[in-house]
């Protein structure tokens, strides 16, 4: 039996409006989630900045191997922190997903809503985390330079830091997106009855 359905369109403006309202209403919770993202990114950015700066100082001796370890670990911590925050953020809202389904939301609509929220949080977390982390990474090394050598070093290598900043934003958006997509997809596939009685 076919119902001959019209295309379920869900305009982007509506998606953004709904997601934004959700973030605003859950402001405190959103801040905590965003903090998880910010800290993960900041940790990674700080260690990467540190290794960029050390790389500049030690250009003759080369980068020491423990620094590669640090970068690896920072990526893992960042990944863990963000995934954990976003998984929690979706799981505690499965009942809400049930409500969306009862009032006619398609699985796709619901996934879109959560992805839009993740995108907003990811951008914010990436920008703030990047600034915080790069700032800290530079600050850690300020006493290795004298006077305006430090400023000079930053200006000469601003491209590396800018690149690192954009890398932070991109990693943040991709990780928050993935860590939201997987559980949201799963939750959206529940029958509404299951979702509504889901206990966290």
């Amino acid at each position: 039996m076919s119902l001959d359905l019209p295309d379920p369109h869900f305009p982007l403006s509506e998606v953004i409006f709904l997601s934004f309202s959700n973030i605003r209403r859950r402001f405190f919770r959103s801040i905590i989630t965003a903090l998880g993202v910010i800290l993960g990114i900041a940790f990674m950015a700080a260690l990467l900045t540190n290794s960029i700066v050390l790389g500049i100082i030690q250009s003759e001796t080369g980068v020491e191997s423990y620094q590669y370890w640090l970068v690896g670990i920072s990526l893992v911590v960042c990944f863990g922190g963000i995934t954990n925050s976003m998984l929690m953020a979706v799981n505690e809202r499965i009942k809400e997903i049930g409500v969306y389904k009862c009032i006619g939301g398609l699985d796709n609509h619901i996934v879109k809503l959560f992805l839009a929220e993740a995108f907003l949080l990811g951008i914010m977390g990436g920008i703030l985390g990047g600034i915080l982390g790069i700032g800290m990474g530079l600050f850690m090394n300020i006493n290795k330079f004298t006077g305006n050598e430090f400023t000079l070093m930053v200006i000469e290598n601003y491209l590396s830091f800018l690149f690192l900043f954009f890398l932070c934003v991109i990693i943040s958006v991709i990780l928050t997106g993935l860590a939201t997509y997987v559980p949201a997809r799963r939750a959206a596939a529940f029958s509404p009855a299951e979702a509504l009685k889901y206990e966290k």
Binding site: M1, L3, L5, P6, P8, H9, F10, E14, L18, S21, N22, R24, R25, R26, K95, E96, G98, V99, Y100, K101, C102, I103, G104, G105, L106, D107, H109, A189, S191, P192, A193, E194, L196
Partner: protein, 240 residues
């Protein structure tokens, strides 16, 4: 007129819950028909299968066996998107715990089903205002659920259920979280809708106050239809 007059037709529906080693038969061969513009209450003790029946009629859960026709469409045959479409256009839901979206105002809550239905913004504004007026909350449009009493939240939920002009409104214990008087108010709102707009209303309930407004009562026991009574037949026994 033969088939057309039935808006819900259920025949020989079974629903089992599989809990690993044990299988719990919640519905064991339920059949009944509900006509357009009826007000039907499904009653029965806790654990009798009322809520399960509510869920399968509403397309909120799948059945193990059997057929369910809503407005001539067998919902057992529908895929996930088609079911969502059905929930959006054909059925309005009212729950015991209201289930409003807390992030949104009363008016926005009523508009969201219309967003999913693809109604444009102007039309949504207009319709949600009318619906708020209908349930007597015209001055509460900008309030969020947290700023409304239980009875008011349930009125918003009723308005939301009506957003896309559904063929039936399903209410699962709509009065269970409300005090006696507020519960009566909600029952009256539902009855008014039924009488004035001709909306078919199906409630699963414990609340004996429902009996006086229902055109029929379907008693469920152990996952089966125990008996079906017209209001006139049980009027006296319910009061006493």
């Amino acid at each position: 007129m033969s088939l057309e007059e039935y808006v819900v037709e259920i025949s020989d529906v079974y629903k089992d819950f599989n809990l690993g080693k044990i299988i719990i038969p919640a519905l064991q061969g339920i059949s009944f028909k509900i006509k357009r513009e009826e007000y039907v209450s499904i009653m029965g003790p806790s654990g009798s299968g009322k809520s399960t029946l509510f869920n399968v009629i509403g397309g909120l859960d799948t059945v193990t066996k059997g057929e369910i026709y809503i407005d001539q469409v067998d919902i057992a045959d529908l895929d996930a998107n088609e079911l969502a479409w059905l929930r959006c256009r054909k059925i309005g839901y009212i729950f015991q715990t209201f289930n409003l979206l807390l992030a949104f105002t009363a008016q926005e809550n009523i508009e969201i089903p219309m967003v999913f239905a693809g109604v444009n913004r102007e039309e949504r504004r207009k319709r949600s205002k009318e619906l708020l007026k209908l349930v007597g909350l015209a001055d509460r449009a900008k309030n969020k659920p947290g700023q409304l009493s239980g009875g008011q939240q349930q009125r918003v939920a009723i308005a939301r259920a009506l957003a896309n002009d559904p063929a039936i409104v399903l209410a699962d214990e709509p009065t269970a979280n409300l005090d006696l008087e507020t519960g009566l108010e909600i029952i009256h709102v539902l009855k008014e809708l039924n009488e004035e707009k001709g909306t078919t209303i199906i409630t699963a309930t414990h609340d004996l106050k429902m009996i006086s407004v229902s055109s029929r009562i379907i008693w469920i026991r152990d996952g089966k239809v125990d008996r079906v009574e017209n209001r006139a037949d049980i009027h006296v026994s319910a009061i006493t």
